[in-house]
């Protein structure tokens, strides 16, 4: 765009007809090593920038700062489990979103879909817990979480399929409806006004600890889910239909795919998986609920899925990266007495770089040699050879 704008300015001044300094063209495809290099450079640049920022704010030795990132994420076995659990939850939500996004259904409502799953789980634990054995209670919690997630996902889908209602905004609004419902539950269930309903009220229906580890079950469930989602999208008929609808609704209609059905079916799936993540969050680990339990991960997951180009295995890496940064940055902020929100700034910076680097993967920049000063030309040619 810059190049074309430049071009016009140049041609407007008819007497200085020069070619633009560079022009941009779309790549056909990009070899894997090159896309990995571009991403790595982007991540390094982002780390460098956030490092500089940290030094500016704390005046500390940069190496110490980077060391604390690793200490924060992997410094003890507790921290490793914590990082893995965080990765599992973020990855799980991203997996839940993937079918919808592959269909180009902009589901910005994962936050609410997960939270309403949490609420349904907590509600059953609170209301039914103690009156029936756990063997019955847990399936009941799971079913209600799935149902709640589906309801939150399918309402926008039906409206989208039926009337073309804008799903980005609809799902976004549903988040806040879910948050207020949770607030309402908190006030009903806990009369002390503590704004959280904790383990003392949700005594029954805890998922079993595998091998004595709090988080192992969640991690295993998400690992299985990763494979299932991959197979579903890549090798099933449904997965094929989803990608056709995503590429072009008209093509889908032309080859006889019922677009409305696919939209609704996919959002039922997406919502159900979000509900499942809510169930795991409450019954598996937190055993408590408050309106900030999902903590923005419904939005972060969108970026995980999108950065990984909807490939479940790349998503593992993307969510690990983001959780690593988050834990690392909060360690840095604790050590240097900074505010916890420091980690969100670092996350934001890395996201900007990863978003920006997409450009260099999708497009190629050709530098116009005739515009460079003579002494640079040789180097530019050399660069170009390297690129090709």
């Amino acid at each position: 765009m810059t190049a074309t704008g430049h071009e016009r300015n140049q041609s407007a001044k008819a007497h200085v007809k020069r070619e633009p300094l560079f022009h941009v063209s779309k790549r056909d495809r990009i070899p894997l090593w090159k896309s990995i290099t571009i991403r790595a450079v982007a991540i390094l640049a982002a780390l460098l920038l956030s490092g500089i920022l940290t030094i500016f704010l704390t005046g500390e030795n940069p190496l110490a700062v980077y060391k604390y990132y690793f200490v924060g994420a992997f410094g003890s076995s507790f921290k490793v489990w914590n990082t893995l659990q965080g990765t599992a939850i973020l990855l799980g939500i991203a997996l839940a979103l993937t079918p919808a996004y592959k269909m180009r259904f902009w589901n910005t409502g994962a936050e609410g879909q997960v939270l309403i799953g949490c609420l349904a789980t907590a509600f059953i634990m609170w209301k039914v817990g103690g009156t029936v054995p756990d063997g019955l209670l847990i399936p009941l919690m799971l079913l209600s979480a799935l149902a709640a997630g589906i309801l939150w996902g399918v309402l926008p889908a039906i409206c989208k399929a039926q009337w073309g209602t804008n799903e980005t905004l609809f799902t976004l609004m549903m988040n806040y409806v879910a948050i207020q419902l949770v607030e309402c539950f908190l006030k009903v269930a806990d009369k002390t006004g503590s704004n959280t309903v904790g383990p003392n009220l949700l005594k029954n229906g805890w998922l079993p600890k595998l091998g004595g580890q709090d988080y192992l079950l969640n991690i295993l469930v998400v690992a299985v889910l990763t494979v299932i989602v991959y197979v579903y999208l890549k090798y099933s008929k449904h997965g094929y239909e989803i990608s056709v609808v995503g590429e072009s609704e008209n093509t889908a209609r032309y080859i006889g795919i019922n677009v409305k059905k696919v939209i609704i079916r996919t959002m039922v799936l997406s919502g159900a998986l979000c509900g499942l993540m809510g169930f795991l969050l409450v019954a598996g680990t937190s055993h408590s609920i408050d309106s900030n339990l999902v903590d923005g991960r419904g939005f972060t997951a969108i970026m995980v899925a999108w950065m990984a180009k909807f490939n479940p295995f790349f998503m593992v890496l993307a969510s690990l990266l983001l959780v690593f940064l988050d834990k690392g940055a909060s360690e840095v902020s604790t050590r240097f007495g900074l505010n916890q929100d420091y980690s969100e700034i670092v996350t934001g910076i890395i996201l900007f770089f990863l978003i920006g680097c997409e450009f260099f993967m999708n497009y190629q920049i050709h530098i116009n040699k005739s515009r460079l000063p003579a002494r640079w030309r040789k180097e530019a040619v050399a660069d170009k050879k390297e690129v090709q």
Partner: protein, 330 residues
């Protein structure tokens, strides 16, 4: 009863003004085809930039000049929101990045930035040798909250219409100006063309990229002023982390409610402001209050569904909303 109603109207207007800035800014942005989901982040950035500017000024002089106390936070707010909008524009227009993802990242960043500096400004300034113990900007807030003359002498009329700081009126003026520019000028026509169908606009010789940059930056600055208003006027210059809450998203919701018309946005934002505080005035038990706080969102969803069912031409989102334009890919 009567004083309660006047107080309710006043509070609705005070509450709605933040939303009005946000929605006017987002309408200008969306008219260019950018669904900027970074607006909540930009509003945080605008607020904290104003706070930082005001804090620096307050620390550096013994006696504050009234005009400067007003202008310095305002300009630092505008500068901060401009920079934030530029990040968004650079990524989406120049680098063709996906708008939703960029916007969400900007919101993460902006909210983090706001809360970070809001929470650490004291500590950071102490590192640099200041002795301040709190970011009390109350003297600056006092300047921002100066009422119009005669406000106290005109009874209920003065209370409802004249009893606010200048930013409340500025919000209305900006919305009116936005409506006039969008609908009555050539620039507005071009901007709407860019939002509806960038390829056609490009063919007609409208510089699409420039319009998108301009609209998004101006829209971002207007929205950022909503953050400034919130801090300097609504909360009397006192920053509290996450205090701004979900107002940014509500402003985006308001754009739909206003069906992309700034004038309707004025009424809409006061209505949303009223819905936002309704729970304080309706006698319900504590545990039902969240259900009332849900109202603005439910109303937005209903409006969204109805406009899509009726599918009237005049009440649709800009056709190019959310789509990037790259000339070579037509």
């Amino acid at each position: 009863m009567f004083p309660t109603i006047i107080q309710f109207i006043q509070r609705a207007i005070l509450q709605g003004t933040t939303l009005l800035y946000g929605s006017t800014g987002e309408i200008i942005t969306e008219k260019s085809g950018h669904l900027n989901l970074g607006i909540p982040g930009i509003m945080y950035i605008g607020a904290i930039s104003g706070v930082i500017g005001g804090f620096m000024y307050k620390q550096s002089v013994a006696q504050m000049n009234t005009v400067l106390a007003l202008l310095i936070p305002l300009f630092s707010c505008l500068l901060g929101s401009l920079l934030a909008s530029l990040i968004y524009c650079f990524l989406t227009v120049t680098l063709h990045a996906n708008q939703n993802v960029t916007g969400l990242a900007l919101t993460t960043f902006g909210v983090g930035l706001g809360n970070f500096f809001g929470g650490s400004l004291i500590k950071l300034s102490q590192n640099m040798g200041s002795t301040a113990t709190s970011i009390a900007l109350t003297p600056i807030a006092k300047v921002y909250k100066t009422k119009l003359p005669f406000a106290d002498k005109l009874g209920w009329f003065g209370d409802i219409f004249l009893s606010y700081g200048f930013m409340v009126y500025l919000a209305v003026i900006l919305a009116v100006v936005a409506a006039l520019v969008l609908n009555k000028t050539r620039v507005g026509l071009h901007l709407r063309a860019v939002g509806e169908n960038p390829a056609t606009a490009d063919a007609a010789g409208v510089p699409v990229a420039r319009y998108r940059y301009l609209a998004t930056c101006i829209g971002g600055m207007v929205a950022g002023m909503g953050g400034l208003y919130y801090i300097m006027d609504y909360t009397n210059g006192i920053w509290s982390n996450n205090g701004f809450g979900d107002r940014g998203w509500l402003a985006i919701a308001l754009v739909i409610f206003a069906i992309w018309r700034p004038l309707r946005g004025i009424l809409g934002s006061y209505l949303f402001g009223a819905l936002y505080i309704l729970f304080l005035y309706v006698p319900v038990s504590m545990d039902k209050q969240p259900l009332l706080q849900m109202l603005p969102y439910v109303v937005t969803i209903v409006v969204l569904i109805f406009t899509s069912i009726r599918s009237k031409k005049e009440s649709q989102p800009p056709a190019g909303l959310g789509l990037n334009y790259y000339r070579e890919e037509r």
